[in-house]
């Protein structure tokens, strides 16, 4: 070390100059800071049969929930409250443990109600939900 230091004309340091590397890294950093998007969307998954094929009503075991355009919810030919959906679903899934739920919403039904119903069905223990619309 001593020798080398003496060999070079100046008595300056012999390390690599880090400044250009720092410039480069900082530029990269700025790019990633600018493009970073912190979006986390949480959601509910529902199945959707394509419009071309009719919703599978072949298995009569499936629980049907209807949502009317004014937000009314019908289960088993009875109008029920959102909070009662869970109890209904629990009761029906106790009878048929592997039944799915078919949600039939009218086209004008509010999505908020739809999501509430899906949520309640999830709470009732059924995750196999099919969503379909009617005129």
């Amino acid at each position: 070390m001593r020798k080398r230091r003496h060999a070079s004309g100046d008595q300056e340091h012999t390390g690599i100059d880090l400044a250009p590397m720092l410039d480069f890294v900082t530029n990269l950093l700025i790019f990633f800071i600018i493009t970073a998007v912190f979006v986390k969307e949480s959601g509910l998954e529902v199945n959707r049969p394509t419009s071309f094929e009719q919703p599978e009503e072949s298995d009569n075991e499936s629980i049907q929930i209807q949502i009317l355009s004014d937000g009314e919810i019908w289960v088993d030919n009875r109008a029920v409250d959102v909070r009662a959906v869970r109890a209904n679903v629990e009761r029906m899934s106790a009878v048929n443990p592997d039944s799915g739920v078919l949600i039939l919403a009218q086209e004008q039904a509010p999505t908020g109600t739809l999501v509430e119903v899906v949520d309640q069905v999830h709470l009732g223990g059924i995750y196999n939900i099919t969503f379909s619309t009617t005129q």
């Binding site: 008595q11 300056e12 340091h13 880090l18 400044a19 590397m21 720092l22 890294v25 900082t26 990269l28 950093l29 990633f32 800071i33 493009t35 970073a36 998007v37 912190f38 979006v39 986390k40 969307e41 949480s42 959601g43 509910l44 998954e45 529902v46 959707r48 394509t50 419009s51 949502i67 919403a105 009218q106 086209e107 004008q108 039904a109 509010p110 999505t111 908020g112 109600t113 739809l114 999501v115 509430e116 899906v118 949520d119 999830h122 709470l123 969503f131 379909s132 619309t133």
Partner: protein
């Protein structure tokens, strides 16, 4: 100045950039790792709330539906018939992307269903309806 330079040894007097470089590189790595290139919808809608909403890390194509039925994607308002070609293009670019539909509470379930159909026709089968985790 003269006197300082002469003081103990004739080393360089510049700032040592190495620690700064370490720090910057760490920041850089953090941003590289956390960056996910999400196609944002571009508008804010009032999402419904759900207790069973789950966080999906892979949901990175966002489609927003406003209460009047407008569909927004990639910061632009698009028509329903444009959803499918857009989705097909994005699906080819990154095949493992999933779709999150951010529908307003007051939007029609029919529009949501139609958008879901279009997305499904574009070949993307995993999609969910966005909901805020309640409580």
């Amino acid at each position: 100045m003269q006197s300082r330079r002469h003081a103990p040894e004739s080393e360089d007097t510049g700032i040592d950039l190495a620690p700064m470089l370490d720090f910057t590189t760490n920041l850089l790595i953090f941003f590289i790792i956390t960056t996910s290139f999400i196609k944002e919808a571009g508008i804010t809608v009032f999402k419904p709330e759900a207790l069973t909403a789950v966080n999906r890390d892979s949901g990175n194509l966002l489609i927003a539906i406003r209460e009047n039925g407008d569909i927004w994607m990639d910061r632009r308002r698009i028509e329903l018939r444009d959803v499918r070609p857009q989705m097909e293009r994005l699906h080819i670019e990154r095949p493992d992307d999933t779709v999150v539909i951010i529908a307003d509470k007051e939007s029609d379930a029919g529009v949501v269903a139609k958008v879901m159909d279009e997305v499904r026709l574009a070949g993307i089968t995993t999609m969910s309806i966005a909901a805020d985790p309640a409580g």
